[in-house]
Each structure stands twice: as structure tokens, then as C-alpha cells.
Amino acid sequence: MKKLLALVLVLLMMPAASLALTISGVNEFPIVDEPYELTIMAVVNANVDTWKDNETMKWYEEKTGVKVNWIEIADGGDVANQARLTLISGDTPDIFMWWFADTSMIQTFGSEGSIVALNDYIDQYSYNAKKQLEEDEYLRKMITSTDGNIYTFWRVQYNPNEMIWNKQFLFMPWFEKYSEATGAGIPETLEEYRAMLEYFRDNDMNGNGDNTDEIPLLGNATAAIEGGSSMGYIMNAFQLWNCHDYYHITDEGEIIFEAITPEYRDGLSWINKLYEDGLYSEEDFILTLNDYRAIVNAASPENIVVGLAAAPFYMRAVTQSIYNRAYIDFQAIPPLKNYKDENVRETYMRADGMVYPQTFICSTCEHPEIAVKWLDYWLSEEGLMRTDRFGIEGVDWEWSDKFPGLDGEKPSIEIHSTLSNAGNTTVPACTGVPIYYSHELFLKTANDPDSVNRVLNEYRSHEAYAPYAVKGNIPQVFWCSDEDILAEYSELNTTIGEYVRAGYASFILGNTDIDNDADWQAYLDGLEGIGLSRYLEILPTVLGL
């Protein structure tokens, strides 16, 4: 066995030795024995003010023996374009670090050879990347382009926080008053839900002597595509509602566009009645995210005016830093039963985890194997825990035996409630550094029953919904080599989305009458006018179905 290992190592080192630069074995550090320099183009934004002086990167330079020449570019919302121009100019860095939604760009430059195909390099030189591709079928599928090559590294997150969008958080002190007065439990049906909202509307819930300042239900529709609007939660009781793209794919492979169905119309009609009876706030559609949070997030219970807050996760509605019982007093309530069939209770879920293609190696890189090894480390658990997902060990988190993890085992990761990236110390995880946050690692989070920390509460709110979650089968990353189709898709996706949102706002607020067939038909015709049929026609091509 030892001999075999030695042989493998020797074989691995042979090509490296011929370059007069010794490259370490798989997963061994330092990577090089003599000074080597990598040029990395990276983005600076709110998460990182400079890469040059980042403490963790300085430490990593010592660990690897690779000196990095950082080329920093600003995040003007147009990084993909800068990448494109850099690639065209031919004056490329060794590594370009950022995430890319435009897969056609990666594939175009990949097939031209400007971006290095990583398959062989990963196979030969990486440890974590290779392991992850072997073990994680989903990741392999998502990250492989249509020509079979892998051109980018990845950011994978199996933490459940962002997987279910349409949640609502109930202010428990109000609910307890309501429950005492009427004997009702947490609402399970639309009728019970409505009854609770009516009680909130009619009574002086916060006890300030004014029974008109209560807002029974408030959301934030400016973030509707991320589950901020109140209507998404309710709509899930009528049909599965993907608030981001308005379609889902059934297990049989059929594409269902949700914003034209009779169930959708029933749902809007029901919500319209909520609005007419003062149970659904018009402000939902107007408030900016900050204004919304300012209303929900009062500093003390008697100033709370919102009974039920819609948000995809806690941070979008309340934070502990303003209302210190926020994560205790606000509790996620499970989805409601379907209006037709009370055995059906569902909510839309995107996928098990998020996969982002990010960070590629350019063909001008002299030693792609060094670049691969440099990036590979960050995919390890150790690498991940040096990013700002966790923060600094001992300050933001630590391994401890105090509580079992969510998986029931010790030691677990005890997270201190603050997360600091003060002084540019940790590596920001959302700026292109490859990371892999596995579900197993997530379950190592200490399950402290009294804790009010962010991660735990987001997990618990997710748990309230998870049993009812139905996945929409939309691939998280779609590889499409046809740039024109992708551009057309992107345009239709934007315009149709805006049309749908403006449409339901208008129906809910009664500007157009949902129960009037002419208005409904006009809405459908308008949707057709901006190209719904064409959209549904090109979807299978774009999604690679």
C-alpha cells in the first residue's frame, strides 16, 4: 500500500519536476517549494474592502507559498461584463474570481479555450473538488456544461435558510391573547387564518389604547421575488407558488405556469377580499425594505404594530439587535391547508441546496495545477470555516461540548450571535472564493434550546415548513450554449415577472376586478402580448430539459 502510494506520488511529481518547480502532492501544503506568483482578479464591494491586506489571505500566502498579485475591480453590478472584456482582450489574470449567471459566456470562452477546462486538473491535483464531484451527484450535474466540461469552481450551500421563500412570522404575544380569548390554535385553514387577522384588526393588541394602529398582516412586495410579499404564503394554500419565476416543473416533466391558472384567480379573489376588509395592507406594495423593517421591528412589545410579518427569513423582517426577543416572540407558522382539499398542505421549495458556478482559470495561467490547488483548499471544511460564513474561530464561533448539534452529536459548533468581518479579517464567502457548505456540517450547529442565534432560528423556521415543501424541479444552474436564446429568456423572464407582479397588485387592490371576466381576460391577453407562449416554448431549451 505504502509502495503504491509512493509510486502515485512519484508519478504525480514527475511532470511537475520537469518544470523545475516542485508542486506538492494532493492536499499537501505548501503548494510550491520556491516562490510562485498567481495573478487573481477579484471584486471589492461591501463585503471586502481590499484583498491585499486581508488577514486570512496573508495567512494563506504563508501556508501555500504562493504569492498572490491581486487585481481588484469594483462591483458595479457589471462584473460579468468586465470578465468578458478581460477575456476578449487576452490580457487575462490567472484566476478570475466571481460568480456568473450567464453560463453562455463561460461556455463560449471555454470552448474557444480562453477558460481552462478543469476536468483533468481536478481529477489529478485536487482533493476536495474531486471528492465533492464524486459524492455529490447534484453538484456534478449542475456544474457540468453541455459539452461535458467543467469550467468553473463552485459555491454550494446546503444550509436551508433560503430554500423556502414564502414564510410568515407570527407575533406570539398577540397570538396568545387571541388564543385565550377565542380558544383558537395556530391557523391551519384559510378561514382560521382570516379569523385571526380579523381579531388583530379589531382589538387593541399592543395595549396602547388605540385599536386602530394594528396592522394584521404586513409584507414587503419590493422583495416579492425573494418571498417578501404577503400574498405568496396565502397563494400556496391555493396552488404551489414559485414567487421567483412563476412556474414549476412537475415530477412528470410538465411545465406549469402558475400565474394564469383558475386556482390563481381564486387565490387573488380571496386576497382581494382580505384587502377590502382591511386585513391586507396596501403598504405591502409600496414600502421599501428598510421602511418595512422599521415598521415591523419595534424596540419593545408595546410598540409592535404588526401581527403577522411576511418574509423569506427572519433577517428580512426582524433582528435581534433592535428587538432582543425578536427570534423568540416571532415564530414561523406552517403553510395553510389547500382551499379545495384539506389533505393537501404545501409550500414551494427551490431545491435542496444552492449551487453557483463561480471562479475560473484563464488559459494564460502558466500552471493551472497550482491555481486549482490554491482554490481547492477553500472547498474544504477548514477553508469554509475561515470565511465569513462562520467568522473567526474563538470569536464568532467555536467547537464546544456544551450542547449536541442539530444532528444530536457532540462536539458541535457553538455560534456566538455576532458575526464580524471587522478589520478585513475573514474571507468573504460571496465574492467568488469556492465554498462547499454541506448539510452535515450545517447539522453540527449547536442546538441550544435557549439560544436566540440567527442560524438556529432560521433553521427552526425552515423546519416549520420543510415537511410540507414541494420542490419545483427547476435546475439551479442552467447551461445553455445559445447566447441568443439565453438573452431572449432573460428578457422575457424580466418582463413577464414584472407584468405578473403588477397584475396581482392591481387585482388585490381592486384597481382591476378579479371577479370580472373581461378584466381577467385582459390580463391574460396582456401576458400573451409580451410573449408568454414564446417563453414557455424556449424554456425547455434554456433549462436543458
Binding site: 461584463n81 468578458r84 472584456l85 449567471a101 406594495f285 409600496i286 447566447e483 429568456y489 414584472e498 397588485a505
Partner: protein, 314 residues
């Protein structure tokens, strides 16, 4: 020096060298704006051809496929064509209608009884011009807020009912235009104030001697005096009729008022630049189209004012 058939040409040939020697500092000074104009206004026009091509950054401007009028037709046939054009025109014409307010304001300042009061008002009124659009939009959103907004508090004071004004399609243009007036009125009147200062005081004295009242002096001395300035400013303004900054509209936009607030530039911004796959050619085509309309309007208004009042840009 012989006298040829064209004495002017001869004078030029002989004169250039002398002129250059005599005025070279002036020519050098003139060269700076000229070069800037060529560099930043004329050379980029070369890139406008991507409106007729299916521009791919990978292929470059000349290498991209020629598609002719495809993107123009796409825009004309788009479901948003009518709405965006209408909204752009409504917002712009409405703003244009408030243009004379600058003159009225300047006149009021000129005849303010206390000189110091006039100066203070002028100072205070043009201060908002220097507030950035983001901040102005933040202020507007707060003022319009249905719970704590100043506007609604005032309305309630007079017995009205509070409403989400930013969510009303019909209210959008008023909010947009009048907040614009508030922000830029003072600054826009500066040029008229200086034009008024240039009106000959002899004319005023003559009018006073003839027994003209204040209003008569305004109508028969001041207004004719600043009419050329006014007309030139108006022509320039009409020349950018189809152009409207997208920032303010975009920041005041929400799902409820989109019917009134989707204008050409916000639409272009969303389709072409904000989208995951940017469509440069489509954006360029829309941009070129609006520029063309602006150019036609500019010529039209220029000709109209020339024949009506005799003053014009050229």
C-alpha cells in the same frame, strides 16, 4: 502678391499663417474643447452601429453579424412600446409645462420689496438642486408615506383621508413633476435672473416716466427683454424631450405605479443592462431611436420659433 479670381481664398491662403501667429494662444485654447468634443462625442458614434448588429463582445463591433433594423422593429412591436412612449411624453411635457415657472420666479425675486429677502429666497430655493437624486427620492417616499408622511398629515389636518400616493397610478406624474420643480426651480431661474439684470434700465425709466404700472413694465419691458434667452432655453429643453433621467423614476417606481412610471429609459435599463444577459444592441437601438426623435424635435422647434419670433439657436 497677385490678385486672383477669388480674393477671399487668396486672403485665406496668405492669412492662415499670419492668423495663426497672431492668435495661436486662442486657437490652442479652442483646441481643447474641440478635441474633447471629437473624442467623447463624435468617435463614440462609431459604436452606434451596434444598433444594427447583433453585437457580441467576443466578436467585437465590426465582427458582429449585421441584422439591420431588427432591434428597431423589435422595439416598435414590443408590448411596452406604447406605454413607455406615452409615459415618457407625459412626464416630459408636464415638466416642460412648468418651464415658465422659472421666469415667473425670477420676476418675483427681482421685484421683491426687500433686497435682502430676495437674496435669501434665491439662496434657499436653489439649495435643493445640490441634493442627490437618491436623497430626494428618499425624502419624497417619506413625505408620501401613508402613516407618517408629511403630505398625508397635512391632508388629514384638513379633514381628508390619508392614502398611499406613490401607489396611485394617477398621482405619479404630479409627484414626479412637482418634486422636480421643488428641487430645480431656484437653479433654473438663475439664468433668467441674470437675463433680467441685463434688461436696459433706461427702458424701465422711460416706462416709469410714461406712467407704466409694475405689471405693464413686466409685460412690455422685462418679458420682451428676456424672450431670446427664454426661447433658446426652451429649444434646448425640447431637444432632450425624449431623454429623461431614469434614476428618479426608477427609484420612485413600484408595482402599483408601474403603469405610469415605466418610461423608455427605465425599460431600456431593465432589459438591456440589469438583465443577466445584457442586450447591448437592443439598448443601442432604443437609444438611437430616442436620439433621432430628439433631433427631429430640435429642428422642428427651432424652425417654428424662428418663424414665429425671429430668435433661434442657429
Amino acid at each position: 502678391m497677385s490678385l486672383g479670381k477669388n480674393p477671399k481664398a487668396t486672403r485665406l491662403r496668405g492669412g492662415w499663417g499670419r492668423e495663426w501667429k497672431k492668435y495661436r494662444e486662442l486657437y490652442l485654447l479652442f483646441a481643447i474643447p474641440l478635441i474633447i468634443l471629437i473624442l467623447f462625442k463624435y468617435i463614440p458614434m462609431y459604436g452606434a452601429q451596434i444598433a444594427f448588429r447583433n453585437y457580441k463582445p467576443t466578436k467585437g463591433v465590426l465582427g458582429s453579424d449585421w441584422v439591420g433594423m431588427k432591434y428597431f422593429i423589435k422595439f416598435f412591436e414590443s408590448a411596452y412600446f406604447k406605454t413607455t412612449i406615452t409615459n415618457t411624453l407625459v412626464l416630459n411635457l408636464y415638466t416642460l409645462a412648468t418651464f415658465p415657472l422659472g421666469v415667473i420666479f425670477a420676476l418675483m425675486l427681482k421685484y421683491a420689496p426687500l433686497r435682502r429677502f430676495g437674496k435669501t429666497v434665491q439662496m434657499v430655493s436653489y439649495a435643493p438642486h445640490f441634493i442627490s437624486t437618491v436623497v430626494v427620492c428618499g425624502l419624497v417616499t417619506l413625505f408620501m408615506n401613508s402613516r407618517i408622511g408629511m403630505v398625508n398629515k397635512v391632508i388629514e389636518l384638513f379633514g381628508g383621508t390619508a392614502a398611499n400616493w406613490l401607489g396611485r397610478t394617477g398621482a405619479f406624474k404630479h409627484i414626479y413633476v412637482w418634486s422636480d420643480v421643488w428641487q430645480h426651480l431656484g437653479f433654473n431661474s438663475v439664468i433668467f435672473i441674470s437675463a433680467l439684470a441685463g434688461v436696459s434700465s433706461e427702458l424701465h425709466e422711460a416706462a416709469v416716466v410714461d406712467g407704466a404700472s409694475l405689471l405693464q413694465r413686466i409685460f412690455h419691458v422685462d418679458i420682451p427683454g428676456i424672450a431670446p434667452t427664454f426661447i433658446i432655453m426652451l429649444i434646448l429643453r425640447v431637444g432632450s424631450l425624449m431623454n429623461i433621467g431614469y434614476e428618479k423614476v426608477l427609484m420612485l417606481q413600484n408595482d402599483l405605479n408601474r403603469g405610469a412610471s415605466e418610461i423608455i429609459s427605465t425599460y431600456t435599463y431593465k432589459i438591456a443592462l440589469q438583465s443577466q444577459v445584457p442586450q447591448y444592441s437592443y439598448a443601442a437601438a432604443i437609444g438611437l431611436f430616442t436620439s433621432l426623435v430628439n433631433l427631429i424635435l430640435l429642428f422642428g422647434v427651432n424652425r417654428a420659433t424662428k418663424s414665429l419670433s425671429g430668435s433661434s439657436l442657429w
